[in-house]
Amino acid sequence: MTRKPSRPPASKPTSTSKAPDPPWLAWAMGGLGIVLVLGCLGVILWRAMSEVEDPDVQLRLIETRPSQGQWLAEIEARNLGGETAAEVEIEGRLGDETASALVDYLPASGRRTVILGFSENPEGRLEMRTRGWIEP
């Protein structure tokens, strides 16, 4: 029978100068590192395997509220696509009145909040659209 690599004897020459550190901590921290690295790898591969779609910006009116002589419309911009959109220009139209805002980055599957200002309450009458964006 071949000799099995057994636990080193207590008089290990390398650990004479210091008391040995608890090995469970080293293994636990190493395990944490492995889990995080494999987790990141899994998420990236999962995204790489799934079909990457162009940015798909969806706008939804969250609420309207009066503020300092004007009405503010709070809009949620969501990017349902698989690519990030940069400098997304979002426009709201209320009759003849238009308001717009520029979102610097709208990450893939991410969301940002946009506020547009109008002279009247835009509740129920607001038309929203995305004018364009840049691929980063």
Binding site: T14, D21, A26, M29, G30, L32, I44, A48, T84, A108
Partner: protein, 273 residues
């Protein structure tokens, strides 16, 4: 008579250490003091997150004072005293520099100014504590060998913070993660781990002599360190609100991008700290 002379000599030595501390605060603080995004974070940063950042920085600074303070302090109370001295040094140098650079001029409320200063004080205080290592000639080998495994991990976190904090607030850090494809992200992660392992070995971490087997050294130091680097980066990105509204894949990309300087910083912690 001789006692008075000794006291004079001691205060002179402390004044020299303090001067070094100001130098360290500038060396580490300048890149962030001259970054536009950092001034704006004074306006936009969530107060709760800023408070959590300041509170978590206290044990970090304490650990740094223990391992690499600007005076050779080795007792708990002296290390605590050094932390507060370093914070004072950081506060003074940040206020002077930001005022000199004209950052304060358009600011409306004192709350914004306080936010701008508070955010910068922590890196400057880190620099003040590291001053002895940056400018001092009195490096002793007993300091080097003192850190045990938890201490090594702590130094890695501090090193990761050292570099990642300088890069995290810039817009480039976000833009890079949006520009990268999945294969580039994986390659960057592999490169981070490879470089980290190489530097850890070259810088002569304790792992070299204690963990004779390269595989266990890789797991115990490189992988464990990289895991902590990713967590540190997640904390920094969360602090700056850079993960808000991000999906899981976008978060992972951002972590890997910031994890690259973080890994280099963690691996070279032995050289920096």
């Amino acid at each position: 008579m001789t006692q008075a002379l000794l006291q004079d000599r001691a205060s002179l030595a402390y004044a020299r250490d303090l001067g070094r501390a100001f130098g360290g605060a500038l060396l580490f603080g300048l890149p962030l003091l001259m970054t536009m995004e950092m001034w704006n974070y004074g306006l936009t940063l969530d107060g709760t997150r800023l408070a959590i950042f300041l509170l978590t920085s206290l044990p970090l600074l304490f650990g740094l004072a223990h391992f690499a303070g600007f005076t050779p302090a080795r007792s708990v109370s002296l290390a605590a005293l050094e932390v507060f001295a370093a914070l004072a040094v950081g506060f003074v140098s940040v206020c002077i520099l930001l005022a000199l650079l004209g950052v304060f001029q358009d600011v409306a409320s004192p709350g914004v100014t306080a936010g701008q200063v508070a955010l910068q004080v922590v890196p400057a205080a880190m620099g003040a504590l590291l001053a002895r290592r940056q400018f001092g000639t009195d490096r002793t080998s007993e300091d080097e060998g003192e850190a045990r495994y938890p201490g090594e991990l702590f130094l890695m976190v501090a090193g990761a913070l050292f570099l990642a904090l300088n890069i995290a607030p810039t817009e480039e850090a976000r833009l890079i993660s949006y520009m990268m494809g999945p294969w580039q992200a994986i390659a960057l992660m592999v490169l981070s781990l490879g470089l980290m392992h190489t530097i850890v070995y070259m810088a002569g971490f304790a792992g070299q002599e204690e963990q004779g087997h390269p595989v266990s050294a890789f797991i115990h130091f490189t992988l464990a360190g990289y895991g902590l680097v990713l967590l540190t980066c997640a904390f920094i990105l969360w602090l700056f609100g850079a993960l808000d509204g991000h999906s899981l894949p976008a978060t992972v990309d951002a972590l890997i991008v910031l994890g690259f300087p973080g890994a280099i910083g963690a691996a070279s912690a032995r050289l920096l700290i």
